[in-house]
């Protein structure tokens, strides 16, 4: 059982002052094995904060990130899964599932994690699974009119990944979960 935290689009301090206190109290150091971040932190203080939650931190570049050294895309293997990470402002049209599927094919990954729309999504298509953890601070978005703070926790266990999404709605944290299974250990899609 490997826990992977996926979050992004915090936009601190441009669009939000900080993560919601209810989220901060949940993100306790030592419980999570990997963090994958879709970008737009935007400042070093947030990078440092994330590092305290888990030292294995993977970040890709959002268009407002202060640090220009983050890569545009990143791939990594966790257990039986290949994961791909990209902020998403590079994929046009923004939020378009088919264009994202193209990126997934290009990166050749089972799970593609992107952001930019500030809207949680998790869906399965021919090439695999696309997950968008939304905005962890509920930051303003020109794309999405109604943003709630959200983040995703993936529990990777063998060929199975359970995706937990945490959303802050009207001051309460609501949890939902979705199951995905891979057909085999090969890198091709199920």
């Amino acid at each position: 059982m490997v826990l992977v935290l996926a979050l992004g689009d915090l936009h601190v301090p441009h669009r939000a002052a900080d993560l919601p206190p209810k989220f901060k109290s949940m993100l306790v150091p030592g419980k999570i094995q990997h963090i994958i971040c879709t970008g737009n932190l935007c400042i070093k203080e947030i990078h440092d904060y994330l590092k305290t939650i888990c030292p294995d931190l993977h970040i890709v570049r959002g268009e407002f990130d202060e640090d220009a050294r983050y890569p545009d895309t990143k791939t990594l293997t966790i257990g039986q899964f290949k994961l791909g990470l990209c902020h998403g402002h590079q994929v046009i049209p923004w939020g378009d599932l088919d264009s994202l599927a193209m990126l997934q094919r290009q990166l050749d990954v089972d799970i593609l994690v992107t952001g930019h729309t500030h809207q949680f999504t998790a869906y399965k298509h021919e090439g695999g699974v696309v997950i968008n953890p939304g905005s962890a601070t509920g930051a303003y978005s020109s794309i999405n009119q109604d943003v709630n703070p959200s983040f995703v926790l993936m529990d990777i266990d063998g060929l199975r990944v359970v995706v937990y999404v945490y959303e802050l709605i009207d001051g309460e944290v609501k949890v939902d979960k979705i199951d995905f299974k891979k057909a085999s250990t090969s890198t091709s899609a199920p």
Partner: protein, 793 residues
């Protein structure tokens, strides 16, 4: 030399005491009263010495008085056996020298009191008067100390069995007061005696005497424990007598110590009710007395008293404690001209804490204290003193911590005036503390006027200090953190009211724009997004026919144009471009075509003139395309112009692969999902074909220079293939099976040429195509059937 002698004499005297004590004990054990008295007198004779320093004498005294305990018990046993106390009382007076005689008298006297044969008052009176016979300060002091000690448990104190009536209480009181008075006088005399003593010796002794003042203070402790000392007695008898002694002794050390004793020993309620008297004594003390400590101690006790018992609070108001203390401090500060700034601030700090504890609802009191401090500071001028700065920060933090609400702080008119007295760095540090209070407590600053007041407090962070640019001195990281704090703050300056919020936005802008080019890139973005959020809310609400000019989305967008412009001037072009695009989208959502067009124009201008780095151009262009693709508000003409320009930029990017990608992304500009007349199949294909030409050029270059990675450009073809598939699926009639086939074949042949294999991208694409062909839902597979595909690998 002196030390050695001292040690020697003490050793000798101690030995003598021990020896006599031994014989005395032997006599006691054999019930030999006569001998017991003889040896005890001899033992006590050692205390007649003048040779010892105060500390050493104290040691000797402890020894001797310890031994006297068994004598006291012996006397008690004797009287139990039938010996007459009166007789004993007589007997001890036969001792040769006064000092031993008096020690013995005290010992037997205490037994006498316990027996209750004679009125305690008579004995006590007797003893306290007889001790007058010893006028030598050191010896007299310890004798009386012994008297106090040995009678202590025979006085009617709270909780003892000897309760008695009012008269008994008064007698006991009188006894202790008198003993105290005499001891104080003796102690003071010790301070000033002996011009014959060598200077060094004297200095050393003065230090030792410091400790001995505690013996005097002990009497006050005893007083504090006495039964019957109620408020009236305290106010009418005890306090005046004590204060008289304190003032008249004119000794700085004694005064300081005893004032503190009074404050610590007697109940807080007493102090409250006698505040006038107590404070009135302060100016009468020696100028060198550290009044600050005395008053601080008093205020601290009263603060804690108020904090711990709510019922007492009305009393504070009733006696008008606040004004009395405020006045007293004012007088002290006035009188002590040389008082350093840090000390006077400390005094005001304690008064402030007192006020916050006792009168937390009286902001006017709090403001008064702040004002008094300001007056005091203005007299001394601006401080560079570290210590004083620290105290001022503590002073300013106290109300912050008490109220946890910066909005309350903003009401204190003197608060900003106090801040003026901090040096620049400390001022900024204080501003950060204020901001952190807002962040931590989730404080909402909800009116434009409050925004103004707040920015007045934190102005050290907002702009350069009076013309000095201290940019060189400050650490880059610290500066960023500072400004990021200000940025975070912006999100707490908020009001739901659609009339007030625009005012707030305008005010924030006014203040932020004074920040200069280093600050603007950090502080303008949060302002912009706060305004965009407002615009969205405005759209959601009803049109307000009575609203003034500022409350329309258009006006706000106009403000944003002017604001982002400033960023562009401050050479933060990439940021400015992104913000223009954000504003364009907001304008789009408000159906303001001209405004949206204007924002695009500005963004394009920045792109052309300011963005020169190739990587930056690629990203900027991608953002432009992505934004433009979502715009619905433009008419055909405007859209065409903007699209044409974007495509033009794409073709002119520095690197050919980048060009190719940007151009094929532009294809999306001709195709929008939401019906309308935004599906131009031909132009889409034109774009893709144009992109392919560029890819061809890349391929040619790669093939020409053998070593170069040709899989790179094959990737471009695969990307294009995927794009064709995208539009095929969307139903673009211009995307034919043939187009896709020929592209697929091209990929195949190029891949064969390359050394490495096909690459995973083509594999997954082919797999996807096959998958779509197999789809049961007829529509998709039909489209895919159009493509004749030969599989390779």
């Amino acid at each position: 030399m002196i030390a050695d002698d001292d040690e020697k004499w003490l050793a000798a005297a101690t030995a003598a005491v021990k020896q006599n004590a031994f014989y005395m004990q032997r006599a006691i054990d054999s019930n030999n009263l006569k001998d017991a008295l003889k040896f005890s007198a001899q033992m006590l004779g050692e205390l007649r010495t003048s040779k010892l320093s105060p500390h050493k004498y104290y040691e000797l005294y402890i020894r001797a008085s310890d031994e006297l305990r068994s004598l006291e018990m012996f006397f008690r046993d004797e009287t139990a056996r039938g010996c007459s106390i009166a007789e004993l009382y007589e007997l001890v007076q036969h001792a040769g020298n006064i000092l031993p005689r008096l020690y013995l008298l005290c010992t037997i006297g205490s037994v006498y009191i316990k027996s209750k044969d004679v009125a305690a008052k008579d004995i006590l009176k007797d003893l306290v008067e007889m001790c007058r016979a010893v006028q030598h300060p050191l010896r007299g002091l310890f004798l009386r100390s012994y008297l106090a000690q040995v009678t202590r448990d025979k006085l009617p104190s709270i909780g003892s069995e000897l309760e008695g009536d009012t008269e008994t209480h008064m007698d006991a009181l009188e006894f202790v007061l008198q003993n105290f008075t005499e001891m104080n006088k003796l102690w003071v005399r010790m301070q000033h005696q002996g011009p014959t003593r060598e200077k060094e010796k004297r200095e050393k002794e003065r230090n030792e005497l410091r400790d001995l003042v505690m013996t005097v203070g002990k009497n006050l402790h005893i007083l504090g424990q006495l039964e019957g000392v109620d408020l009236v007695v305290y106010r009418d008898t005890v306090l005046p007598r004590i204060l008289e002694q304190v003032v008249n002794c004119k000794d700085e050390l004694a005064q300081c110590y005893l004032m503190d004793c009074i404050i610590q020993v007697f109940p807080d309620d007493f102090h409250l009710q006698t505040l006038d008297v107590l404070l009135g004594a302060c100016p009468q003390l020696q100028p060198s007395v550290d009044i600050k400590t005395v008053l601080s101690g008093l205020m601290e006790r009263l603060s804690n008293y108020a904090a711990s018992s709510v019922e007492a609070l009305p009393n504070f108001l009733q006696v008008d404690a606040f004004s009395k203390l405020n006045h007293a401090i004012g007088k002290v500060v006035e009188a002590q001209v040389d008082l350093p700034a840090s000390s006077s601030v400390t005094l005001y700090l304690f008064l402030l804490k007192f006020t916050l504890h006792v009168h937390s609802d009286r902001l006017d009191y709090v403001d008064q204290v702040l004002g008094s401090c300001v007056s005091q500071l203005s007299a001394t001028g601006k401080l560079c003193d570290d210590k004083a700065s620290k105290q001022i920060v503590a002073f300013l933090s106290a109300p912050l911590e008490k109220f946890n609400d910066v909005v309350t702080i903003l009401k204190l008119t003197n608060y900003p005036r106090v801040m003026e007295y901090l040096d620049h760095d400390t001022n900024k540090a204080m501003a950060i503390i204020i901001i952190q209070s807002i962040l931590k407590n989730d404080t909402r600053i909800a009116t434009a006027d409050e925004v103004d007041a707040l920015f007045e407090l934190i102005k050290g962070l907002i702009k350069d200090f009076d013309g000095l640019t201290d940019n060189d001195e400050i650490d880059e990281e610290d500066f960023q953190e500072e400004q990021n704090s200000v940025a975070r703050l912006v999100h707490f300056l908020y009001n739901d009211d659609p009339e007030e919020m625009p005012k707030i936005i305008f005010r924030i802008r006014k203040h932020i724009l004074t920040g200069g080019p280093k600050r603007l890139p950090l502080t303008i973005p949060p302002l912009v997004f706060s305004a965009l959020k407002l615009i969205r809310r405005m759209r959601g609400g009803d049109e307000n026919p009575f609203g003034d000019d500022t409350s329309t989305p258009q006006k706000i967008l106009q403000l944003l144009t002017e604001t982002v412009e400033v960023l562009a001037d401050a050479s933060a072009s990439e940021l400015a471009l992104r913000l223009y695009l954000q504003c364009a989208q907001a304008a789009n959502d408000c159906e303001l075509e001209t405004v949206a067009y204007e924002f695009f124009t500005k963004a394009y201008l920045l792109y052309e003139e300011e963005i020169s780095d190739s990587k930056a151009q690629v990203t900027a262009l991608r953002l432009i395309i992505g934004t433009l693709q979502r715009m619905r508000v433009f008419n055909v003409e405007n859209r065409d112009i903007l699209t044409h320009k974007a495509t033009g930029y794409s073709a002119k990017l520095l690197k050919k692969p980048d060009q190719c990608r940007a151009v094929y992304e532009c294809a999306h500009l001709y195709w929008a999902e939401e019906g309308e007349n935004l599906k131009d199949g031909e132009r889409v294909v034109l774009c893709l074909k144009r992109a392919q030409k560029i890819a061809d050029a890349v391929q040619k270059m790669a093939n020409a220079s053998r070593g170069a990675s040709s899989t790179g450009s094959v990737s471009l073809y695969v990307e294009l293939l995927n794009k064709y598939l995208y539009f095929l699926e969307k139903g673009n009639p211009q995307v034919t099976g043939e187009t896709i086939q020929s592209l697929a074949e091209l990929i195949r042949s190029e891949t064969k040429k390359a050394e490495s294999g096909a690459g995973t991208f083509i594999t997954s694409t082919l797999r996807y195509m096959e998958f779509q062909r197999q789809q049961e839902d007829g529509g998709m597979s039909e489209k895919y059937q159009k493509i004749k595909m030969e599989w390779f690998e």
